[in-house]
Symmetry: C3
Subunit: 201 residues, 3 copies
């Protein structure tokens, strides 16, 4: 599906830029910025591939992702002073990436005959662990563990995708519906400052 590929590339680029922006905040050198951008974009998918035994992992045999990441990081470095202004578009790309990676991960789980619960987990891991690795390498407690509805959107989206697959909804329809839900949850969460309830006094 060409639409899918376009979105996938956009998501990869957005994740790479978000990683690069994070690394620049930490005053890393250009190489560090590139690696953090790279790891943010491919970390979740790499962990997914390694855990299901799909090796060599995807980015090693799909160069367009690698080129996308390199270009995205170079753009992030070049326009580093304008990234602030672009944060809304970035947020949108990041959310699209989140949706796409959730769907690909979940779909790969289903295709590998894994149980629906595991497939949904795999989708969530694919979408969020790039960011977890980014934060860990930058010596921060991963954002998704204490801020905002983020992984929750992936889990709800994944469950939705699995259900629609079960009811044999056409894959492109399923894809568009699921990604819309993930984006909607994430947008609403940010607009209304929704968080998971905490239980600390």
């Amino acid at each position: 599906m060409t639409l899918f590929l376009i979105f996938d590339i956009l998501g990869t680029a957005a994740f790479a830029i978000s990683g690069a922006a994070f690394a620049m905040q930490k005053k890393m050198d250009p190489f560090g910025v590139l690696i953090i951008g790279f790891v943010t974009a491919i970390g979740g998918g790499t962990l997914r591939d390694v855990m299901i035994g799909k090796e060599p992992v995807t980015w090693m045999t799909h160069l367009p992702y690698v080129y996308t990441i390199i270009i995205a990081v170079l753009l992030a470095i070049t326009f580093r002073k304008k990234i602030g202004y672009l944060s809304k578009s970035l947020f949108l790309f990041d959310t699209i990436g989140l949706g796409i990676f959730t769907i690909t991960g979940t779909e790969i789980g289903i295709q590998n005959g894994l149980h629906p619960i595991i497939s949904v987990s795999l989708g969530m891991i694919s979408a969020t662990f790039g960011g977890v690795i980014r934060d860990t390498l930058c010596n921060e407690i991963p954002l998704i563990f204490h801020k905002e509805i983020y992984a929750t959107a992936c889990i709800i989206g994944g469950i939705f995708y699995v259900l629609l697959t079960y009811f044999q909804v056409r894959q492109d329809v399923n894809f568009l519906l699921t990604i819309s839900i993930i984006i909607a949850i994430r947008l609403l969460a940010v607009i209304f400052h929704l968080k998971l309830p905490t239980f600390y006094n």
Copy 2:
């Protein structure tokens, strides 16, 4: 072996609870608490599986572990104010988990034809790296690198298990002897505040 399965589930639950308790100390949101509980329980086994090429990794094809972890984390959240009082039972479960995971890891190494030294290392990694990943994600230097006899108990237990296997001791006897040794070392270490000698002045 049913006894084995029961202990394995108990160990998984204890590791999940210890992870969840740690995450709650760090004021993570419920999702973060779940993930840290999950990672603590399955991290060591996942690393073990990935390094020997057993993929999909175990938890992806064995749902009882996943259910156990979810229930354990929910219990930890519900009774979070009483976890302090329960710390002794928790410590016991955690130690049982440590013993079980050491044995499973070592046994898997032997079954895969790995050298005894490697099998013992694999057992130790299976038992301790869930905690290492937990601490790293929570932005702490892993506890086992600077506190208490912990991994040492796994290594001694693993060596013992390999020796008894070599002398063809019945597996259930071997299992019970090895786990008793690991638990005994750990209990003695905590009761008498034993540490590895350090060499810093």
Copy 3:
């Protein structure tokens, strides 16, 4: 190639010592020192093996590496007060290790039919991620992300190696030329305090 094996063992030893020295600075207990030494020496190669699907990973089936690491860590602990004086030899070993691991990683990429860009990345990952994991476990932002020409030397060396392979230069000649280049870049970088240009004001 015997020369290769000797260098590889030397590189492994140097990485193990550098890890152990780092862990001792962090006042870890002897077990922690051993594990950090181990992880520094085999972390990059393990990640490399796992991503391309070469499992069990190399150190699990090649005991000489394991013995080398144990001996190197014991030496590092014994002579811990003299490591300061030895820092020049250590730096040399570390750089040799860097060169060797870059070449092995790149070569394995080529042999697995991966694209040259991916093979060079694989070489760089093999050479540097042991240190990345060491720094992450010790709760530091990885050194290579913000200091000195280090990974850059691996990338240049890897590109050089791929080019010479393409032009069918004899492998031992290629090996010696590439490692000389990596060592030269690293030495010049340290002597002249070269860094990647940064773009922060």
